[in-house]
Amino acid sequence: MIAGNAISDRAKDFPKNFAKGFVMMDSSFDRRDFLKVLGWGGATVALTGCGFTSVEDGKETVVSYVEATDFMVPSIGVYYNSTCAQCDAGCSINGRVREGRVLKLEGNPASAINRGKLCGLGQAGVQHHYNPDRVREPLLRNGEKGEAITWEKAYALIAEKLQGVSGEEIAFLTGAMSGHTKVLLENYLASFGCKNHFAYEAIAPGVVRAANKKAYGVAMPRFNISKAKLVLSFGADFLGSWVSPVHFSQQYGQFRKGADGQRGVLVQVESKMTLTGANADRWLVVRPGTEGILALGLVNALGTASGDVAAAVKDYDRARVSKDTGVSVEQIDKLVALLKSHSPSLVLAGSAAEGYAHGSQNAAAINLLNQVLGNVGKTVVGPVSVPFPQMSPVVGNTAALANVSDALDAGKYKVMFSCGVNPVFSAPTAMKFQEHFAKVGFKVAFAHYLDETALQADLVLPLDSALEDWGTSVPEYMAGDDAQINIQQPLMERLHANTRGFGDILLALLKQRNPESYKNYTDYYAYLRGAVLQNKNALGGSGADDDEFWDASLSNGIFKLAGSVANLSGSISAGSLSLPNAPVADAQYPLHLIPSVNANLRDGRNANQPWLQESPDPLTTIVWDSWVEIHPKKAAELGIVEGDIVEVAGKNGSIKAQAYLFPGIHPDAISVPLGRGHEAMGRYAKGFGVNPFHILDAVFDKETGELAMHETRVKVSKTGQRVIVVKDEGAAGGKQMGKKIAVRLNTDHVDLSKEV
């Protein structure tokens, strides 16, 4: 098999047969020609037949299928490896392309992150690409409307607006970034002497990163779920949306089977059941915010701690912990016994634990439990880092948003760029981001769709979809034993002629600043190829022919490098640990608002992908709408039944949504999912559901400054309206009515070692 980055349907399974098959890919196959043809080189062929090509004006020629290139024989699927951009986990994808159209995404088995698997969110990547509501032309604000302009004009406009503006007066707001786009961006900002790059992610484990850094010495160690015999997770939805869910789910499959037939046990501690909680052997509901207290109580009950740790936890006896958290003493005893018998275990701190003003303390207490159990070095191990620090990821967090919002308020910036984030949608109204954003003289948004933030911009630059663009990225959570750099390559020709890759735009902007250094690179592809080949020895291609190495790299979709493994710190210290007492009831706003993160919709950036809108929420099975989860007991108290439109009012506004009675939530809490409630972003997102981001109180974690997402208190009242909840679950309400449908049995009735 030659260096094919394009392999056919059949070839995927039988490489040997492939060469004999009727789809010939002989060794003279020339990648450069291929690129030319697919439009990634210079001249292109119209492959998609979707219009807007330059065939009409004679710049391109149409090639007949009769003498089609071997990688696009009609009816033969071709597979390309690339990287999923639906979330930041960095799963490698394998896209099926037929007749020049990308049809379906699968996981790339070579990636240590997802090992050939792909979640629903990732699958929906094609709907991001084919979305009918994508921005197709650069748009310049003209009053309330956007006027289509040319790229030349757009670039000229940016140059003009940046004239005489100092580096301090420019800000660049992005999501998490890594790889060569990050390099280009930093080079660009450096050309102004600008240090205002803010990486913002509305949902990010910012507090946990900081706590990990303190406890283990690294922000994101590797968690070996498959090796753990017990996973005790404090609100970490690692099967749903936390950090690298496909990787964790894949590990979870092994964890449940157990290496030696001993099935792993999962205990989840949280106030609102997440997908992970729904899969737990024991789901422990705790009073919101008391996760840390339970962790310290467990440390105390284990009785193995000494020194300052023992001193720090001595007040947390079982009775007090039970009283504060609501977890029974008996349950604590059982859990302690299990922690002792199931070693190594793994304790995870997730978003439910970190979302409080004392989130850092919670996370520290949970990490302490991990340390006391001796899991560090066994199930919590040092991550591998990429040897190129320039490419390593800038992780996003919410503190960045607070910083940028304050700076905007102070009127510091004259020109602001925003890319890949939608703060107008995802910032709490209390932060007044939109107001502050309006103070900027010239706002440029790089956008796929006209989302809420793009609508506020003065200039909107349409981006290529993730399946049309080139790039490299380095995942924050490095799953394998090797360091991994992911390659993103186009799976098909640009769908719309006037969109551009983020890298291409940055390159064009850099050429404005620094034409000499970048003149050799006609486009981002050339830059990327040049960059890779320049360093091919380090990337595992020493001695290889340039073209062959490049082709092979694209074919693999990833670079695997021997990276350095970070050592985890071994010291256990209770240090500055001081947890507040259990929260007291608020008379005016008696309920905790838990904004829940749905694995598909996350922070709402994918809400316009109809598969995700119609994919039922796993726990409530609701589609196309938001809901308010409320415990049946609380609902009975308030006289609420399913489908009642309730008003959830906090200090910073209110939202109205349908009530759903949900047993998996603390009676003192309600939960509203994030991600819906868009006021823009196209036909599949606009007008569906409500946006709980907006009513969050602007409370921050005391140590890290991260937004404390779970600190909002609300009250719930009926509005008198009632609707039928649109959900998949029928009238039986998830009961099996005595039928043997989904069956469960206890561990003592099973012998996994005998199973296949």
Partner: protein, 453 residues
């Protein structure tokens, strides 16, 4: 009390009946217009459904069958009355059937024609309906002979053609009377053609009797089998609430029941509209009512048998469906069905109501409402409470499209029936004459006996 007054002269019978074919009254046109308007509603709904897809009827998974199938069974049921009156009672020499069997037979034919339409309306791909017929084709593709739905199609076609034949054959002597009494126009041509040169010779009468008797004998098992087959649509399935052994007799009883109720309704209407008081006498009505009462009790009994067999079968799913019927979403309709089907007919047991026309009209309409509800209560609750709880009860309330088509079907039936009444004699003249003839003869005999004294 005699069934009809024996003193009526034969000529008067001809005049009275033929009068019903003449210039319609204003009321007739009004009814006709209403019927056509109702059909227009149904046609509109069906066109919309055809264009958009079955979804506009608001059916869903799992609730894939709706009012169409329920109403289909209802009309099939209606068709049984004609056969009962003309064939079964004919064989049993119940003479009181004679003045009323003609319109009952017409009812059979027209309700079958209505029922057939519902099969079409129900199909998702109406334009491919012929796939379900065993027609010769090059590819050797046959329909699935295992499917009760195919049996249905065949049984209905056979039954329809037989009933038309039966209706027509029984009408030949009357058509000849029409031919002889009408002297011009299209009617003359029509009756001439249809009466097949009937002269009333002995030989013709003999052949006629034999033919008529043969078809009657053929029709009886057919009628029973048709509704048994419709019952098989349900009984042969695997679904709780449908998979019931007693369904075929239960369906047949239900069919006779609704048919009789409909006869009472039409009896009263025709009697009033065409002033047929002399022929459709209260005495005959009383007998019809008593027959209806008897059948209602049979139906009630079979209902009880069904419940009991479900209850004692310990089949959890079927039992759950039964409980759901009595207590769930459909409870109001189900209890209404019990009330209309088993309680209301008790009125018919009282002698003073057996000839009380306003009461009987109301009761007969209620009985038919009950019987329609029965069919709906067979179809719907099984869907909303089947084997698989996850799929129980989405919003399955029939949309206006379903209601519109069901509503329009009554217009269609009315239209056909009204046209029939104006074109063909709705009372059998020659058979009424037989009744009068017998009495005259008896009188004569009585007279001669007196003379002998």
């Amino acid at each position: 009390m005699k069934d009809i007054n024996e003193d009526i002269a034969w000529a008067k019978i001809n005049t009275d009946v033929l009068k019903s074919l003449e210039n319609p009254r204003k009321l007739y046109w009004v009814i006709l217009a209403v019927a056509i308007a109702m059909i227009a509603v149904a046609v509109g709904c069906e066109t919309y459904q055809y264009q958009m897809g079955m979804g506009v009827a608001n059916m869903n998974n799992p609730h894939v069958w709706g009012l169409y199938i329920a109403t289909f069974i209802f009309w099939i049921g209606m068709s049984h009355s004609g056969t009962l009156l003309s064939a079964i009672l004919h064989l049993m020499h119940a003479d009181w059937r004679k003045p009323i069997y003609r319109f009952a037979e017409a009812m059979t034919t027209f309700s079958l024609m209505t029922a057939g339409l519902f099969v079409m309306v129900h199909l998702g791909r109406l334009w491919q309906f012929y796939y379900s017929l065993p027609y010769p084709n090059e590819r050797g593709l046959w329909p699935n002979f295992q499917s009760p739905l195919l049996w249905d199609a065949m049984a209905i076609f056979t039954y329809l053609s037989s009933s038309i034949l039966f209706l027509y054959v029984g009408m030949i002597p009357d058509l000849a009377i029409c031919r002889d009494n009408i002297h011009s126009g299209w009617r003359k041509k029509l009756y001439t053609a249809l009466s097949l040169g009937w002269e009333g010779t002995d030989r013709q009468w003999r052949n006629f009797r034999v033919t008529y008797l043969t078809i009657a004998c053929f029709l009886i098992p057919l009628a029973v089998s048709v509704h048994s087959i419709v019952a098989s649509d349900f009984a042969m399935s695997q679904q709780p609430g449908w998979h019931v052994t007693s369904f075929p007799p239960y369906f047949v009883a239900g069919a006779l029941y609704s048919g009789c109720a409909a006869i009472i309704t039409l009896f009263i209407i025709l009697r009033y509209v065409f002033r047929f008081e002399e022929y459709m006498t209260l005495s005959i009505l009383k007998k019809t009512v008593r027959l209806t009462f008897a059948i209602s009790m049979v139906w009630t009994y079979l209902n009880a048998v069904e419940f009991a067999s479900v209850w004692y079968s310990h089949d959890v799913a079927s039992k759950a469906v039964l409980i759901q019927k009595a207590t769930g979403t459909y409870a109001p309709f189900w209890w209404m069905m019990i009330f209309c089907g088993s309680v209301v007919p008790l009125i018919l047991a009282f002698k003073r109501f057996q000839t009380n026309i306003p009461v009987l009209l109301a009761v007969s309409l209620l009985l038919n409402l009950g019987m329609w509800l029965e069919r709906w209560m067979i179809v719907a609750p099984t869907y909303s409470h089947g084997y698989y709880p996850w799929t129980w009860d989405h919003d399955q309330w029939p949309s206006f499209v379903q209601w519109g088509i069901v509503f329009g079907s009554f217009g269609w039936f009315t239209l056909l029936f009204m046209l029939f009444c104006k074109i063909f004699p709705s009372v059998s003249m020659y058979e009424v004459k037989e009744m009068v003839y017998h009495r005259t003869l008896a009188k004569k005999n009585l007279g001669s006996a007196k003379g002998a004294h």
